[in-house]
Symmetry: C2
């Protein structure tokens, strides 16, 4: 009769004890002799945040950004360029949607402009010395936007001033082979003016090759066959289509290297050492001027001489002849000459980068760097404002989450708006020169979105192997614009694909040259980089690039009407870049898959064996050590992958993960060798340096072989082949060593 | 009447609740979505372990190590050198006292030896062509250890073979100035043999300078004034004292650079690219041979010609004359000539480094690297076996704690025994070439103990500023050997001190040249390094180095009887190195004080301002940007120090500390610029590169100024001064940027 009471008490006691246990366990934070509860613990990629960001990236706002950015021409260092610096600072400092901080970094750099007082001119001069024809000095004002005083006259930036005059010849792309062909055709090039078309080689190379053969001046035009799918009449071109109008002229830098020409390897601060102009290398050696195809037609369709080879013909509606000089039955008397008067001026100008940052919550010393240049040639709606419009929308969405306190990334995210890219990646290069070590030690990856949208068909990504996996993960989760319900990934694979020995059919990433601001990051600093854009269906057009590239016709309406009505492709690029940035900044384990380098090395190795093996053997050079090195890399990369997945199954310590992530982040650095190609300014990456040799293998090896080819065994050239082989073997062995368990000798 | 019961129940309930709370809190491990409780938490420097290690480092065992190591000559790549590789592997793999793992890394390197068949000879040849006197080919066998077949004949390593013969001249140290002096004295140097004494310049420089003046062959000897405090008789020298016997000859490498001469910047693997001998630079241009001072006396005391300047006189007991040729009243007829026949051979030999590692428990990817070379010229009891004896005792004590499970360091500790150092730091250099990135990314510091004990008076440390503080902390806690109760620090400060603007009177650290294996680590990789030894009281002896250096008299008995009877100085060095290693490997916060670089920069800056300021101004070069850069560095370094002490007061997250430690560890890297001094092989550190200029400031600036000095403004030389100024400003600004809060732009 008492037992119920006892039981009651017992139960109560149990309940109280239990309550206590619960309170004690959950309500009181554990104290320990350990440093404060690791702030790093919970933070990993948050898929809800990712979804939110994807959802908030707004096509309409990108369109409005673009309208503002491209409202006026904003040539590097122009007043409007400075206005945009302020616009970026204001956006990135906005209390509701800004970043943690933003700042402008200004450099004093050497730019090249046509003279205002004395415009560049291209004339045909009759035998009596009077001008019988003049090319257009400006593009036709078809939309009211081509006539402004701030529309820079077309010129070949960094081409020297001068007024050469001579008989005209047609030199196709102006390659070394093209000029050799003219010689074999018995054409005297000494003192001539060479008309060349864009394509084949870099801009500056055309003048360099021409000068080697005594050519006195160079003209460069864009052939309708190369840019307009053959169309050339005003009715068929902008504003009636996306094609280039007859008066359109592609501007561009003709400088061989990148970075400020006066301060190689040094930031162009006001006090920095600067080369004497006499000691600057890489400028075109002879006066050069770009023209439109309507002017090119007048010149080319009146040329005399033998018919140009079939591959040299274009779409100007006449048979292209080689010259020299004009044909008697044409518009100009036979002995007329062409005069190219170039009055370019070199000026030291201030150009700014704008940097903005979101501080990482856990690993603020790890930077996910995302950038694009700001400067354009004219309005630059596509190049570069389409990228900047995306950049601003991404910073707005992330900034808003940040300011609301909803989210802060694990690692720091750095936004960059580079200056003076059009003159040779100057802003980004000076930045890497100024902060070399800080960036090299801490940057996870560099994401570049320059021209965001060339066209609406598909994604196009260039990058180094470690970024492939994160690009794939991101694009599989995003719907592609346009009809159907494909992911960006599934749409992409229809246009660019390759069969991977590891993955089967996958979208193919292109490799990074030096076409935009990623160049100093990958080649000079060895930072894993990528360049992202939406582009066209190459089966539907043969245009080498969007037709109004670097002309005064690259305007907002051009984008709005022809390139991306509705801006859904811009939105797709924003989502792709955004997802990649979040994955890189928030994932506990860095989504950089270093083992994807194995495929590249394998393919380089196979090319070397197939295309160079026999030749090398003749000169008793063995590829054996290279084979061993590639195999070592493959094995170590695979083993590291294994260790990572094992660790991911458990609940690893943040420091353990940090150590692994450092191995992933720093792998790319181990391919750098600043002493490998001393003559190739900035190019230190032994896998991606510029390849002049024809064999698609390790560039140092490929280039050295093509130089040694015709020399005897034991020559210096063959010694250089062996040196290059040892350089790449050392890099691969060194890279493999960094992938091994960190406590292994 | 009921209330007591209620109260009782209440109390019981409270007790139960409380018990529950306690159980819940302590008895049940907290579960969370966070990674496992950080293993990194508790691990910091353990003073008890430190004390244990200090106590267990045993002088007697060091003595026994030395006896074994120096029992036989162990020239690089000799059979005995290979035996010692096995000895090290066996010690480091010992189950009771070994490390986690150990391994030998072998390279195929170019060494230089005298011919066995055809010994190098130095003869005096009479007018009739017959040999009237011959110098000794070997050292006198005074202890029974100098006669062995494995005692290498004295030679100038890498000096070319040849048999020049000519009149003898005396050229003092063989500096550029010395040969100029001979010229001004009207002495024809063409075709002569120059007798020089060690000191003044590097070995190889004597031959380089001589060859510039047409000298045909060079002899090098050690003057008793420079090494023996003037004493030279057998009764006054070893085995009767520590002084060099008359027949002793200093051997050495005469190669200008370091590393394997055939594989600059590449590891000397069997398959590596190797230079043709014709393309190797840095070897002495003319036959060269070292001799003992008894032979030098025969030559020098019979010279003809004018009396040498007072500063050229030595302690051979005669008036030194300049020559050319012998005096009529001497031992040799006046027109006798000296013939120097050198038959050195270059051979590709296998040389091994031995590496051993203790895996770090928390940060295994951070390496504290401690090493010494293994190879000697003969028995090398002092050089290098005194260091190796210490190395083995340290690895034994730490290995024993490890195997017992008593201790495991926070970071990894790597022990290194380098090969072929005597020929030019070859083993260590090849190692840095092979593992460049891995080492540069992960090495906390490099500690070198080559010659552990020169003498018993005091500690002597060379190192870069960030290591000063850890050296001070360690040495303050260790009793110095010998009478009295001073700490090593308090004894040290009596011999080497300076007045620091920050700390007042402190022991002064020397700066690191290229005298031992630290060179590639500091100059090529930018790793904070130090070299530790016990040395003599410079007020008691003027010896440029311990007298039997690089001779067959550097034996165990020499050390046991004269250098360090009782081995207490060896023990002191072992304790110092051991304490430094533990502090670097176990401290939660890295004990590298980067702000100590500010003093160096300040002093370099002041020297530049005082000694170059006016000159630079004349050429309108401003030091303003350098001043700003130094001030920036000072401010950022101080601020970082503040942040660290604040953090130390709290209980910081291990990741936060890792990030700070990375800033400390990597600072030294930011002073590297591989493009700063392209002609100076391996030297990339803009603060410690070899300084040829007289002004004690930034080496690039100092050297460029001394070259530009006599050229006109606007010369290339002055442009180079400006370039060097920008290089150092960029490095300092870049370094300051790495010290800022990591999330700052």
């Amino acid at each position: 009769m008492q037992w119920t009471k006892v039981l009651g008490l017992g139960l109560g006691a149990a309940a109280l004890l239990g309550l206590g246990i619960i309170l004690g366990h959950f309500a009181i934070p554990k104290k320990s002799n350990s440093p404060a509860p690791s702030i790093s613990a919970p933070q990993d990629l948050d898929l809800e945040i990712l979804e939110t960001v994807m959802g908030q990236l707004d096509a309409h706002r990108i369109r409005e950004n673009l309208r503002e950015l491209s409202r006026e021409p904003h040539l590097a260092s122009s007043p409007r360029d400075e206005d945009l610096v302020q616009l970026l600072l204001q956006r990135w400092k906005d209390p509701e949607s800004g970043l943690d901080s933003a700042e402008a970094f200004t450099y004093e750099v050497l730019l090249s402009f046509p003279s205002q007082e004395q415009p560049n001119v291209v004339d045909i001069v009759g035998p009596t010395g009077d001008i019988i024809h003049s090319c257009h000095r400006t593009e036709e004002n078809v939309t009211g936007e081509q006539g402004g005083a701030d529309v820079i006259q077309p010129h070949a930036a960094y081409a020297p001033s001068g007024t050469p005059q001579g008989l005209l010849v047609y030199a196709n792309h102006g390659t070394e082979e093209d000029f050799k062909e003219l010689q074999t055709q018995g054409i005297k090039l000494e003192g001539t003016i060479a008309l060349t078309r864009y394509g084949g080689v870099g801009r500056g190379d055309k003048a360099v090759n021409a000068a080697k053969h005594g050519v006195a001046g160079v003209l460069v035009y864009t052939d309708p066959a190369d840019i307009n799918d053959g169309l050339s009449s005003p009715s068929e071109t902008f504003p009636n289509s996306w094609y280039l109008p007859p008066s359109g002229v592609e501007r561009g830098s003709y400088y061989k290297y990148f970075g400020d020409p006066l301060t190689p390897y040094l930031p162009a601060t006001p006090s920095s050492f600067r080369l004497d102009l006499a000691n600057v290398s890489g400028f075109p050696p002879i006066p050069t001027q770009p023209i439109g195809f309507q002017d090119a037609r007048d010149l080319l369709c009146n040329l005399n001489g033998t018919l140009a080879p079939a591959t040299w013909q274009g779409a100007l509606g006449c048979h292209y002849r080689l010259g020299p000089g004009f044909r008697p039955d044409g518009n100009f008397s036979a002995d007329s000459q062409v005069n190219v008067s170039v009055y370019n001026l070199l000026e030291l100008r201030n150009s700014s980068n704008v940097l903005g940052i979101i501080h990482g919550a856990v690993e603020p010393d790890r930077y996910v760097l995302y950038g694009n240049h700001r400067d354009s040639w004219v309005h630059g709606a596509v190049d570069p404002s389409s990228g900047t419009a995306v950049l601003l929308e991404l910073s707005r969405v992330l900034g808003t989450l940040l300011k609301k306190g909803t989210w802060r990334p694990r690692r720091s995210i750095v936004f960059a708006s580079w200056g003076a890219e059009e003159f040779g990646l100057i802003g980004s290069t000076e930045f890497t020169e100024e902060f070399f070590n800080k960036l090299q030690e801490r940057t996870v990856a560099y994401i570049n979105v320059d021209i965001a949208v060339f066209a609406n068909a598909t994604l196009r990504v260039q990058g180094t192997p470690p970024v492939q996996s994160v690009v794939f993960s991101a694009t599989k989760e995003i719907r592609s614009p346009g009809p159907g319900d494909l992911s960006i990934y599934d749409n992409w694979i229809r246009y660019f694909n390759r069969s991977s020995p590891v993955y089967g059919l996958v979208p193919s990433l292109g490799s990074l040259g030096a076409g935009s601001d990623y160049a100093p990051f990958i080649h000079f600093l060895g930072i894993s980089s990528m360049d992202i854009a939406y582009t066209y269906d190459q089966s539907k057009t043969s245009a080498r690039i969007y037709p109004t590239y670097h002309t005064a016709f690259d305007t907002f309406d051009y984008v709005d009407k022809f390139l991306d009505p509705g801006f859904s492709s811009h939105q797709a690029v924003a989502r792709t870049a955004g997802s990649i940035i979040l994955r890189l900044s928030d994932s506990f384990f860095l989504p950089l898959k270093v083992s994807d380098y194995s495929e590249t090395l394998r393919s380089f190795l196979q090319a070397a064996q197939q295309d160079l093996g026999a030749l090398l053997e003749q000169h008793s050079i063995s590829l054996g050590p290279l084979v061993t090195a590639v195999e070592k890399f493959e094995a170590e990369a695979a083993a590291l992958g294994q260790r990572i997945s094992t660790l991911q199954k458990g609940s690893p310590d943040p420091l353990q993960v940090r150590m692994l992530n450092d191995q992933l982040m720093l792998l790319e650095r181990s391919f750098l060798n600043p002493r490998a190609f001393p003559e190739e300014r900035y190019y230190s990456h032994v896998l991606w340096a510029a390849r002049t040799g024809s064999v698609a293998t390790f560039p140092g090896l490929s280039n050295a072989c093509s130089r040694a080819m015709d020399t005897a065994s034991g020559s210096e050239a063959w010694a250089e082949v062996q040196r290059q082989l040892s350089i790449v073997v050392t890099a691969l062995e060194g890279a493999a060593a960094t992938l091994r368990p960190v406590a292994d000798l």
